[in-house]
Symmetry: C2
Subunit: 295 residues, 2 copies
């Protein structure tokens, strides 16, 4: 299978898992299940589940066995978006062209839908034991998920991000935010695939390092798109990050230097997995795809 | 050890666990760890961890082995209080005589502190594997925790509660709310102790049934205290539940009938565990204590 077909295959599997492992919208009480589903269906590239499934297959396990954990990490990612968009946080009305969860369901249900998706992430990761994954591996993956998304991981990144516009431009603060808000869950997705599939410790470490570089590059491209996207549309580099006085790679280093750093991170990511030979080809091409993506 | 000393012993162990398993307040970023700790230290009876530790000991395991899971369920309970108190939900300014989390730390940090405590609950439950609990049991407890607190458990109860004042007085709705908002996590605490300690399936079921009756009685006494508490203070039965037009046992059945039902639930709870003889004495006395509590 070439890169594009394999990507599509993992994405389709994820969509199927979302239908299979989330409660139908008419499950009582319906409003919470509609709200959960609304944001899960708001789409995106399903990058994190794709990484988890691919890392599992890279480690020798068929992706179907890890599907609940893959859907779980998408639930966790979606919870973080719903809570980040809340009026008390970034106060965003739109995400990916659709009204945000609280604009449709109200703040109370949006908070609870986020809570429910966070909770579901752990339930689904635990569910891999039913598919024959040894329990020790499942517990380890759950612990990794909790640490990656907890008060010294994803949430720490959001806390520092919330206050970053008041701070002077500090590259270390920027690095901290993105290592935690973006790279952390990407790293988790990769190592969870390895852990659950029974990879060697040195392989899990390689997946982790690949994820760290990929995650930072992903965020740099995000910051670039916030500027370039608007540039091609309205003819001048003013994006929502600048409006919100967000600390970004572009605001700190400028467009050219950010692009150079992104290319450097992508090359570093590729180098880590290249030494495993042919079986890494999906990850090598995925890194290229992350760099060149337009949305 | 008599009942009071044993209760105190479990409570002290929980306090020790809270100090040991939660990050110190100066852990970066400090504001989130201060906010988490603020609500964890707002006290209470530590009922859920006590139940978990006692159910573990009832099943033959020393309580120290289950301490991370016991602290975990207190984290989960505390998250639910922080989010319930938010302006978008019940909009409460005080809890147990102290300003609520969002009054002290602001809404954004309060939401994130709740998220972090929910996440920590799973991390700590997973941690029991390090103390020698077999991984299969740990995964099962984690799955039970996720289901009990998810969109068809605790969160479902909160969703229905949020809209209950608009509904006509329906005993089935009231039952649904309290089975999910209150009894569910109490049941989890009991069965988690049993599961992690390796109790027989029929023992786990008995703990579950005891918890169901205890949980309902606990809520009935709560509703009574909301009226009686104010009665002794201001001389007339007007409490916050009535002000908020909450559907309660007292508003539906009156004081005398609610008390009668609470006594009935307590007796039912006691009957379930009495047949296990002397080893159930703590649970028999705890049921009495729940019925007669004044706060």
């Amino acid at each position: 299978m070439d890169f594009k077909n394999r990507l599509k295959y993992y994405q389709n599997l994820t969509e199927e898992g979302l239908r299979r492992f989330l409660p139908p919208e008419d499950t009582y009480p319906p409003v919470i299940h509609q709200a959960m589903n609304y944001s899960l269906q708001a789409g995106g590239k399903r990058l994190r589940p794709v990484l988890l499934l691919a890392a599992g297959e890279w480690s020798g396990l068929m992706p179907e066995k890890l599907l609940p954990a893959a859907v779980g990490v998408e639930c966790l990612h979606t919870y973080s978006l719903i809570h980040d968009d809340l009026p008390a946080m970034d106060n965003d009305d739109f995400r990916r062209g659709k009204p945000t969860n609280h604009k449709v369901f109200g703040e109370a249900i949006a908070i609870l839908a986020g809570d429910a998706l966070l909770t579901k992430a752990f339930e689904l990761t635990a569910k891999t034991m039913e598919l024959g994954i040894p329990a020790e591996r499942v517990v380890r993956a759950i612990a990794e998920l909790a640490v990656a998304s907890g008060s010294e991981g994803l949430i720490a990144g959001q806390v520092v991000d919330l206050t970053s516009n008041e701070k002077k431009k500090d590259p270390e603060v920027l690095q901290y935010i993105h290592l935690n808000k973006t790279a952390r869950l990407i790293r988790y997705s990769l190592i969870a695939g390895g852990i659950l599939a029974g990879a060697l410790e040195e392989e899990i470490e390689a997946l982790d390092n690949y994820g760290r570089h990929l995650g930072l590059a992903f965020q740099m491209v995000d910051d670039l798109l916030d500027v370039i996207g608007d540039f091609t549309k309205i003819g001048k580099p003013v994006g929502s990050d600048e409006k919100n006085q967000k600390l970004t790679y572009v605001s700190l280093f400028g467009i050219d230097e950010t692009r150079r750093q992104a290319e450097e991170e992508i090359a570093a990511a590729q180098n880590i997995l290249k030494r495993y030979g042919e079986r890494s080809s999906f990850f090598i091409e995925l890194a290229e795809y992350i760099l060149k993506r337009e949305s």
